[in-house]
């Protein structure tokens, strides 16, 4: 025992010395190479789940694909469609799209990208066996014809005015056939045409991308190396930018952004995003099968209060079309049932047969997407008209399960919006829409949605969607609340980063570090 006693004392001494020992090492650990390579380190809260552009559904995977692959067309920072791999396009009629490709674009394996690759990629997406989430975006494409090496023609079975916007989706990236065939799929490799190439991927730790020296945009990318670090906690992400371990970070959490605003070493870049926070009803369940009840609730909701309390002010009130889609979105003042009016709401409830209000549940989850904070504010606001909302706070997996099974009275959600009204609203509210889990069926809404997707004259389309926004605000199957800001916390070394608004990191290619 004497021996173990000595050991014990030795350990105790070691422990006392321990922290000092570690602290002493601090100065010599970090050695930053000043010149040579320019490295940009970006912190993200989630690891990518696979890299196959045609297969992935995870937001985190899309953010890597932004930089590894290209699409025929892409969105710029104003959410307008601009050339990407296609230099230009002709639309001879509303069923035919002809794309003229850039010449000399090379895949990361060195081979030139040609029209055959476009045909292969889109057909892979359309193949049911690929199970691509992008299939629904181009389901109306009936044939893809290679006219010559740099020209490809898409023929539609029915008009789809939003096709160009759909083609900006990462799920419709252009990939080389040989890479797919060599690896079964592209989940673990990246052979794109994008500004960066995959160098190393240590799952749950980091992903290193290096500059593509053959990238078709001159002077791009501006850094030699891009490192993604996965840090799940938003407070830790902020700490990373503050301490200089990270150059920038994508942060959703409003409280952390507010904290970042008070730190001099970092700056916050924000703009209204394209997603929409919604409060939607199961329109097949009483009392929400009655439009009067839905209208009454719409009149009881105060968007500004929700943004102030649940998002720390970091969002913009919106109607059915995300406010950032400036070309299409009508201001809320022009939409019915979109400003609080408790007396009118109570009158509507009385008319609907609920003079003393009623009780219902709101399914929500404590993840950001699950909108617990928003549900709490709504719960409180509805007290003003005598309606009792019971929050059913469930784990994220249960939440999705309830969503899939349409098992809710009402639900707070975040919906992936689009700068193109057809792409967002058709699937969300058409009676045949794939994500119309409000089970909303309305002849007028269907008519306007079908009309809008077939129109090619911009003024005519605008008139259709203006009318649709009013119809939807009045029918209120779902209350569109606000678009959360897209936030990036940026350190002092970084210049030239631009936000797209849909979360895309495309402009990292034009970002430089000092």
């Amino acid at each position: 025992m004497r021996k173990s006693c000595k050991l014990f004392i030795a350990i105790s001494i070691l422990m006392l010395l321990g922290p000092g020992l570690f602290a002493g090492g601090a100065s010599e650990v970090e050695t930053v190479s000043a010149d040579a390579e320019k490295i940009l380190t970006i912190g993200v809260d989630q690891e990518a789940i696979g890299l196959d552009p045609h297969i992935v559904t995870a937001f985190s995977s899309h953010r890597r694909i932004d930089l590894l692959y290209n699409r025929l067309v892409r969105l710029d920072e104003n959410l307008s469609v601009v050339p990407d791999l296609a230099e230009s396009w002709d639309i001879p009629d509303n069923l035919t799209y002809i794309f003229h490709l850039r010449k000399g674009v090379k895949f990361h394996n060195g081979r030139e990208m040609v029209a055959e690759d476009v045909k292969y990629s889109l057909e892979r997406v359309l193949d049911d066996k690929t199970a691509s989430p992008g299939r629904s975006y181009i389901a109306l494409v009936s044939s893809i014809d290679v006219m010559d090496s740099y020209t490809v023609k898409l023929t539609l079975s029915a008009p789809l005015a939003s096709l160009l916007n759909a083609l900006t989706s990462n799920n419709l990236s252009i990939v080389p056939r040989e890479a797919v065939e060599a690896n079964t799929n592209l989940q673990k490799v990246a052979v794109g045409t994008g500004p960066f190439m995959l160098e190393e991927w240590i799952p749950d730790n980091s992903m290193t991308l290096v500059k593509n020296p053959d990238y078709f945009e001159a002077d791009s990318p501006k850094v030699d190396k891009l490192i993604f670090r996965v840090i799940p906690e938003s407070a830790s992400l902020l700490s990373g930018v503050k301490s200089g371990d990270l150059d920038m970070a994508t942060i959703n959490d409003g409280a952390t952004i507010r904290q970042a605003n008070g730190i001099s070493q970092v700056r916050v870049q924000s703009k209204p995003g394209i997603n929409v926070r919604t409060f939607g009803f199961n329109t097949t369940r009483a009392p929400f099968d009655n439009p009067l009840v839905r209208e009454a609730l719409a009149l009881a909701v105060d968007r500004d209060e929700i943004i102030a309390l649940a998002e720390f002010g970091m969002g913009s009130p919106t109607g059915p079309i995300p406010v950032s889609a400036k070309k299409w979105a009508l201001p809320l003042t022009e939409l019915p049932f979109s400003a609080p009016d408790y007396n009118r709401a109570k009158a509507l409830l009385t008319e609907a047969g609920y003079p003393d209000g009623f009780t219902f549940n709101i399914v929500c989850s404590s993840t950001y997407e699950g909108g617990l904070d928003v549900a709490q504010v709504i719960q409180n606001e509805l007290k003003n008209i005598g309606v009792t909302a019971e929050l059913e706070v469930v784990e994220w997996g249960v939440y999705i399960d309830r969503w899939v099974k349409r098992d809710f009275d009402s639900m707070v959600e975040i919906r992936g919006g689009s700068g193109e009204p057809d792409r967002f609203l058709y699937r969300t509210l058409h009676s045949s829409g794939g994500v119309n889990n409000f089970m909303f069926k309305d002849a007028e809404t269907d008519r306007l949605l079908d009309l809008g997707r077939s129109q090619t004259v911009p003024e005519e389309r605008k008139a259709t969607y203006d009318e649709l926004q009013k119809v939807l605000a009045e029918a209120a199957p779902v209350i569109f609340l606000y678009s959360p800001n897209e936030n990036h916390v940026i350190g002092p070394r970084v210049t030239g980063f631009k936000q797209v608004g849909n979360g895309s990191l495309y402009y990292i290619a034009e970002t430089s570090v000092k």
């Binding site: 989430p133 996965v230 830790s236 919906r415």
Partner: protein, 320 residues
């Protein structure tokens, strides 16, 4: 001793079988399936696509058949592939296990080197201000949730570059100094609560032992205070501390899982959290099986240490 160890290791088989049964059916009882998580709320798919995905996610077969298939595979050492990443499960877990184990043992080490000396000191100066202070501090350490302490440390130390790992984790073998420096705060946030437990056990146990006759005899025959405490009292008082330590290794591992998330350490914790969120059944199942094995082995090691520390205990019947 050898026979005893072999017997105990054999008992792993029924334990793991039971665990496999429970975990396999339990994870499938949680609402929401891996396929639903994969699709999320934003994706549209045709019925044909859904059929293909159902097949890919292995949801086209009855759960009992799936269980027997899985059991057959793990007996052969094949834990299957992740439903989300498609990567084999075992190498992914093994790549992360060392970090979680290191974190667990580092925090255990910190807990012991803080808790035992404090417990001894506290018992020797019973009911003094110092005793009172360390007891209150101990209670505080016991009451603070690990994740909260961890979050607090992240905020407090974020100005010190290199103290908080920011995804640039290095293993113990690559760069020991940097590794230990990075793990110090996470280990402290896990270990501090357990240090309080150790302190209280040591103190109570010491107080009990110090009142026994043989201690009075030792003092009476003129032994030095040091010798009485360290050679005679501590030797007996430490036994319950060993027991409680063995039991708690599992809980420390659980703490490591939460704290890894806060400090962004790429250990098993993040893998399992992610797997639970995504309903990635093969990963959850494999992690639970591995943790169950660790639990049994650690308990065995505890028993062996116990026998070494206390000669009155014989593990092996044949050794008598």
């Amino acid at each position: 001793m050898g026979r005893y160890v072999a017997k105990r290791l054999l008992s792993l088989i029924p334990v793991l079988f039971g665990v496999s049964l429970i975990i396999f059916f339990l994870v499938r009882m949680i609402p929401g399936t891996a396929l639903e998580m994969y699709m999320g709320t934003q994706v549209e798919a045709t019925p044909e696509q859904m059929e293909e995905l159902t097949r890919l996610f292995g949801e086209d077969k009855p759960v009992f058949i799936l269980y027997t298939e899985w059991l057959g595979d793990i007996v052969q050492g094949d834990f299957g592939c992740s439903l989300r990443t498609g990567r084999p499960v075992l190498p992914d877990i093994m790549a992360r296990l060392p970090l979680s184990m290191e974190l667990t043992f580092f925090s255990l080490f910190l807990a012991l080197v803080i808790g035992v000396p404090l417990g001894i000191a506290s018992s020797l100066h019973q009911n003094t201000f110092g005793d009172f202070l360390s007891r209150v501090t101990g209670l505080l350490g016991l009451s603070l949730p690990q994740f909260w302490l961890a979050a607090l440390m992240v905020m407090a130390f974020s100005g010190f570059r290199g103290w908080i790992p920011m995804g640039n984790y290095v293993s113990l073998f690559e760069d020991p100094v940097r590794n230990l420096k990075m793990l110090f705060l996470p280990s402290l946030s896990i270990g501090i609560g357990f240090a309080a437990v150790v302190m209280r056990y040591t103190r109570n146990s010491m107080l009990e032992v110090l009142q026994q006759d043989y201690i009075r005899t030792a003092k009476a025959k003129g032994l030095k205070q040091r010798s009485v405490i360290y050679t005679h009292a501590l030797k007996n008082a430490i036994l319950p501390v060993i027991t409680v330590t063995g039991f708690n290794v599992g809980y420390l591992l659980g703490g490591a899982i939460v704290v890894e998330e806060v400090f962004a350490l790429p250990g098993m914790g993040r893998l399992s959290l992610y797997a639970i969120y995504q309903r990635d059944y093969p990963i959850i199942q494999a992690i639970v099986m591995i943790i169950a094995t660790i639990f049994v082995v650690v308990n065995l090691i505890t028993d062996i240490i116990y026998a070494l520390a206390d000669p009155r205990i014989r593990l092996d019947d044949t050794a008598r």
